[in-house]
Amino acid sequence: MMKTAAVIFGDFQPVKEKNLRAISAAAAFSSTPEEPLEIWSCCPWKGESLSLPRCVLTQLGETEVLPDGRQCADALEKLVSERSISAVFFPGGMLFNEVAARLAARTGGSVLTDVTMVRNLSGDEITVEREIYGYNLNGCFTARKWPVFVTLSDAFAAKELEPGPVEEVQVCPLPPLAGINRSASQLKKQDTGLAQAKVMLVCGRGVSKEGVALMEEICSRTGCALGATKAAIMDGKMPESAMIGISGVRAKPEVTVVFGASGAAAFMKGVSESKLLAAVNKDPDALIFRYCDAGIQDDSQCVLENLHRMIMEK
């Protein structure tokens, strides 16, 4: 009998889709669908961001700040054991990759992180897919030690579930955090509208500071969104909230124009669903030209100056 559980962040709108993935997976792979789903929330649940399916909801912690990974693991370890859970599904990301690994180590089970697809789940084993080699290849991984702890990539397809009653709400207090004394916790700046943009310009490492200023002006006058590669952000040209790619936003605009970026796989994941993807790069052999619809082999600065001038003349 495969009893599953879903762990969710809490009632935070920015991670609503991530929460839904975990809940959807736990529901899909439960072999006890007649029973309410076990959902474990790291923060108090108010029901504002997402409608839960029929479930027993357990809340860890009483504050609106995500707990530490070890605190989470300490609390969840008891729940896994008490409720005889075979498979726990988590949203992907920093916190739960840590929590899943801790739980696997403590229980002698298996950890599968950033899973894009569950290919098979039987009583004996679970086979999943995930991206490897810097998101350039996909591989299958099979776990045979139970319980299994699975974190789900943003590429994992979630299904909307029929809302149902929360049959019971329980509280499982978090243990105190030893060794780490948090003095401040600030909510990170979330989506800046990149995910919903119709047109997006992306600044890569090859764009100069003057070029970034031109891009900002162009976006301001045309209503385009302005994103950036991780490399450009690490160089201090753009804020972190502008990051496009695996570590940032995966956008689906009508048009994306990428300036001065090489086309690394982790970045391309963030723009590959554009209807029209164009790139500007002075290197004719730049990787990005293999993955876009149109290309301009030229210095980004020249193209941006021309574009800017045309917009100002309009």
Binding site: L95, N181, S247, G295, N306
Partner: protein, 267 residues
């Protein structure tokens, strides 16, 4: 331990990866079929490990040198130029544990824990968040579990503060500042200073005779199934790219037309 006279023993464990940036589609397909030897590709420090090394040096800088940094390299490739730079920028000792480049996280954590118990104690263990080639991102967690130490798993910067370390780190929603008691494990992710400093020629000349301390190869233990990939394949995302011709003005004009058309003529 940090005491009145503050002296920190820091371990950074790191690996090398391969430069995968410019591989062709055909090369990726051959890799997925196991038909290509990746050893000919340029080797480089795992980028997040590079951030960890630089963070260790920054901590030592802020203690005005009152820290000793040991490097543990998990891998079989010769380190040569990388080791020379690391000694030149101030690592005290570098050990090499010859293991395969795709060593699974559980084994890496176990071997590093053994090293800590034999060569330590260390006040701070630093590493990067992800590892080549499978990016499981759990080695530091398994190590912290094994050694029962506090873990900061996505550090951005750290500096000594009293008897501990003040750290800025993040999770999926929050940016935290915390005082961490030592000993602890810290893994670096979106570091404020991600790039490892480069030694001057003079600094490199001063350490030209230094070598990496070779450790005996460990007994091989089979990796857990959940860390062993099968059926590796490549999704072909290539497109036929139309390279725009014409003058620079015409090219910019084409872009502008597409932008304005998608925006409904705004601008």
């Amino acid at each position: 331990m940090i005491k009145g006279g503050i002296f920190l023993k820091i371990l950074v464990f790191f690996r090398l990866g391969r430069d995968l940036e410019n591989l062709t589609e055909e090369e990726w397909r051959r890799i997925s079929r196991g038909e290509m030897d990746l050893n000919y590709l340029q080797k480089q420090l795992n980028p997040s490990d590079e951030a960890a090394l630089e963070q260790a040096l920054l901590i030592r800088d802020s203690l005005e040198g009152a820290a000793e940094i040991t490097g543990l390299y998990l891998g079989s490739d010769p380190l040569s130029a990388i080791a020379k730079n690391l000694y030149a920028v101030g690592l005290k000792e570098i050990y090499q544990l010859p293991v395969p480049p795709d060593l699974d996280p559980a084994s890496a954590a176990e071997l590093t824990a053994d090293f800590c118990l034999r060569q330590g104690p260390f006040d701070l263990i630093l590493t990067g968040c992800t590892e080549y080639p499978f990016d499981f991102g759990v080695t530091q967690t398994l190590l912290a579990e094994r050694l029962a130490l506090p873990l900061i798993s996505h550090g951005r910067w750290a500096q000594p503060a009293g008897e501990g370390l003040q750290v800025e780190y993040e999770d999926d929603l929050f940016l935290h500042t915390a005082l961490v008691s030592l000993p602890a494990v810290l893994s670096m992710d979106a570091a404020v200073h991600p790039y490892l400093r480069i030694a001057t020629l003079r600094e490199k000349m001063a350490v030209k005779s230094r070598t990496v301390e070779q450790l005996p190869p460990p007994e091989t233990v089979a990796a857990a199934d959940c860390f062993v990939p099968e059926n590796i394949y490549r999704v072909d995302n290539t497109k036929t790219c139309s390279m725009l011709q014409g003058t620079e003005e015409e090219q910019a004009g084409w872009l502008l037309e597409k932008i304005l058309s998608a925006q409904g003529g705004k601008g």
